[in-house]
């Protein structure tokens, strides 16, 4: 994957965004970064399986993982690892989904502040959940995938329909439509939650997002959606690079901006919806991870996507572990920790960037 010469002054001259005047990441350094990211993720997975109310050593985790795979586990350690399996798997899925969706949304809208929730996905999933809780007797112990997912996807379709004028949708219209629809849905959610104490009791926990109390079945439910979204998303790297030059430039490079945007937005929506359905609306991972990764990789979206898919899960798993450690013997909800961890990192990344927004 040797990047094309986007660094020549013809393609990115005085009129191009400042980010594009930086040289693209070389293949050697990119691979090194990827190796580091994978190492970080591996560490996060082991920690996630080992740490909690009952501590295990890495050796015990490795042994239990083996028995888990061969299906012959019976020791106490095996049970502990098995009980931490769902949250670890879901952490990987949700972390990767949110971070990659964040990269795509920031690339599509050419707006470094775009958050994957910007298309109204989180609000849509939450509104569906609240409707289910209020009128259909849905429990809140699990984020019910078959309720949250349709809600999220339906919302994205509505947002897209609103944003599409006669000449397709512009990034700005998309963002605005998402913001407006989110706000309307949020009003609806609040109105229900505040007039129905029983719904409020469930919703206040679901609304923060957490990896705890999940089952493997939930992971299997969202996995197909996640994988389709991820594969579609990883294929958008070159497109996003071209779009960064502006739509006309992208079209003159032989790209179809409208098609590219629709595919990208749908991939992001699928990813975001599966994450929200699985673990609730965990904030900030999708906004912060692309920024943090970008401060290492520079503007090439191909590396950004791959590395975010690795760093996102690591951040989410570490946040989850931290939540287990700070509030022992109980735990603090993951969504609270991601914000506390991610915000300082985001601000550091911003201070390192020369120009933003």
């Amino acid at each position: 994957m040797v990047p094309a010469q986007a660094g020549n002054p013809g393609a990115a001259g005085a009129g191009a965004p400042a980010a594009l005047r930086r040289p693209l990441l070389g293949a050697g350094r990119g691979t090194a970064l990827l190796a580091a990211g994978l190492g970080l993720l591996f560490l996060a997975v082991i920690t996630s399986l080992a740490v909690g109310a009952h501590q295990l050593s890495p050796a015990e985790v490795a042994a239990s993982l083996w028995t888990e795979i061969t299906g012959t586990g019976s020791t106490y350690a095996d049970d502990v690892v098995a009980s931490r399996m769902p949250r670890t798997v879901l952490g990987i899925v949700a972390g990767a989904a949110l971070a990659v969706a964040g990269v795509i949304m920031q690339g599509l809208t050419r707006n470094p502040l775009a958050d994957p929730g910007i298309l109204g996905v989180n609000a849509g999933a939450a509104a569906a959940m609240v409707t289910g809780m209020a009128f259909f007797g849905l429990g809140a112990t699990s984020a019910n995938v078959w309720v949250a997912l349709p809600g999220a996807l339906l919302t994205v379709l509505v947002v897209y329909g609103l944003a599409s004028g006669r000449r397709g949708s512009t990034p700005v219209r998309l963002v605005l439509a998402g913001t407006v629809i989110s706000a309307v849905l949020l009003s609806y959610i609040q109105a229900i939650a505040l007039t129905r104490p029983d719904v409020f009791a469930m919703y206040r926990f679901w609304a923060v997002g957490s990896l705890s109390g999940r089952t493997m079945e939930q992971a299997y439910d969202v996995l197909p959606f996640f994988l389709v979204g991820l594969i579609a998303a990883l294929a958008t790297g070159r497109t996003l690079n071209a779009l960064a030059l502006g739509e006309e430039a992208a079209a003159s490079l032989g790209l179809r901006p409208q098609t590219a945007k629709v595919t990208g937005a749908l991939a992001a929506a699928l990813l975001c919806a599966s994450a929200t359905a699985a673990v609730g609306p965990i904030g900030f991972v999708g906004l912060a991870v692309p920024h943090i990764v970008r401060s290492f990789t520079g503007p090439d979206h191909r590396w950004l996507l791959v590395l975010s898919a690795v760093v996102g899960p690591a951040l989410l798993l570490f946040a989850d572990v931290a939540g287990r450690l700070v509030a022992q013997p109980g735990e603090m909800l993951t969504g609270v920790i991601t914000a506390l961890l991610g915000a300082p990192l985001l601000i550091l990344a911003v201070r390192r960037m020369r120009a933003v927004a």
């Binding site: 605005l176 407006v180 609040q190 409020f200 609304a207 923060v208 904030g283 985001l346 601000i347 911003v350």
Partner: protein, 355 residues
């Protein structure tokens, strides 16, 4: 970037007229602005009258007009002085404060989406209020809210590295600090008991239920302190809206003006939050409505103040009269209303916004 109605070649706007008193005192005004502000004031008075008379508990119109000649009697006095009077006046005051705060923010950041929410003030205030449920007994809720808002704005100011000079960085830092504040609020929401969480959720939406004269006094004091300073800053602010370089060339000390304006806005917004909680969207929408009504490039102080008051009082009148089986906080309604209006506005203009 800001909501400027550029003058196309074939459309001219009548210029300002000058009002003179003797040789020394003079000021400029535009007929349309004066007319619009008069209409807004009349509308506000009408909303006040409807607020006091609507529903089963409302005064009769005869009682309302009787107030001009004699103090109210019996149940009328209870409704006026205890139930709806303070509530309406608090809404007016908080609406003015939100409107002016929003106008100051949008002018200095040259961003139609600039608002107290952006620099973390609202979420900071919410976190402050939430902290009182986690560690009860140290501070009253409004004080904690103001403190939280001030801390958040201070942190944003530190995070941007060079004060509030760079709108882009300001917004990113605001997002980061807001996220931390929101995390603290969520923490409170998920650890306190059911009843407390309900109360907190109500406050966090922004509510004007059961206000008293002390609330009116609080917001009035803040307005008396800050509004003259905001008005005095108008000329520099209008120049800053032309762009930093242009303003510097015309002799405005841009960085200082921006910092002072944001501080004034923070004080106003904090005062408003302390009397009715972080009501959404009023600060964001009021200056934008004012801009369009006046047809000018920078909305100033008076029109956003009146629009803010009108939006908040009208919303509160609506939630008082809507029957959904329980009292809704006014913030839910302003959020719905504001977002719909914003959508209409921004789609109509298809302008570039920074989110």
């Amino acid at each position: 970037m800001s909501g400027v109605r550029t003058l196309t070649g074939n459309r001219t706007v009548p210029g300002p007229r000058t009002f003179r008193l003797g040789k020394r005192l003079s000021f400029q005004y535009r007929r349309r602005s004066v007319l619009i502000c008069l209409l807004l004031t009349i509308a506000l008075i009408l909303v006040g009258a409807f607020t006091l008379t609507a529903g089963e508990l409302g005064l009769t119109w005869r009682e309302l007009f009787g107030l001009a000649v004699s103090p109210p009697q019996g149940s009328a006095s209870f409704v006026l002085e205890r139930l709806r009077g303070p509530r309406f006046l608090t809404a007016v005051g908080a609406g003015i404060a939100f409107g002016v705060a929003g106008s100051l923010f949008q002018t200095v950041t040259r961003n139609p989406l600039g608002s107290p929410e952006v620099v973390g003030l609202t979420s900071g205030a919410a976190a402050g209020a939430a902290a009182t449920t986690l560690w009860p007994g140290y501070l009253p809720v409004p004080v904690a809210a103001i403190l939280g808002g001030a801390i958040a704005v201070g942190l944003v100011w530190l995070s941007t590295g060079r004060g509030f000079a760079r709108p882009g960085k300001l917004i990113v830092a605001g997002i980061g600090i807001s996220a931390v504040a929101t995390a603290l609020t969520s923490l409170a929401m998920t650890t306190v008991g059911e009843q407390q969480a309900q109360t907190l959720a109500f406050y966090l939406n922004g509510s004007l239920a059961s206000r008293s004269w002390s609330h009116v006094a609080t917001i009035a004091a803040a307005l008396v302190l800050v509004l003259p300073a905001a008005a005095a800053l108008q000329r520099q602010l209008n120049l800053v809206s032309l762009g930093d370089d242009m303003a510097e060339a015309l002799g405005v000390r841009v960085v200082r003006t921006r910092t002072v304006a944001i501080l004034l806005a923070v004080v106003l917004a904090a005062a408003a939050v302390s009397v009715c909680g972080p009501v959404a969207f009023v600060a964001l929408v009021a200056p934008q409505i004012a801009l369009r009504l006046l047809g000018v490039s920078a909305p100033g102080v008076v029109a956003p103040a009146l629009v803010g008051a009108l939006v908040l009082t009208l919303s509160d009148f609506t939630v008082q009269q809507i029957d959904v089986g329980a009292a809704l906080p006014v913030g839910i309604f302003t959020a719905a209303l504001g977002s719909l209006y914003l959508g209409y506005l921004l789609f109509g203009e298809a302008r570039k916004g920074v989110l």
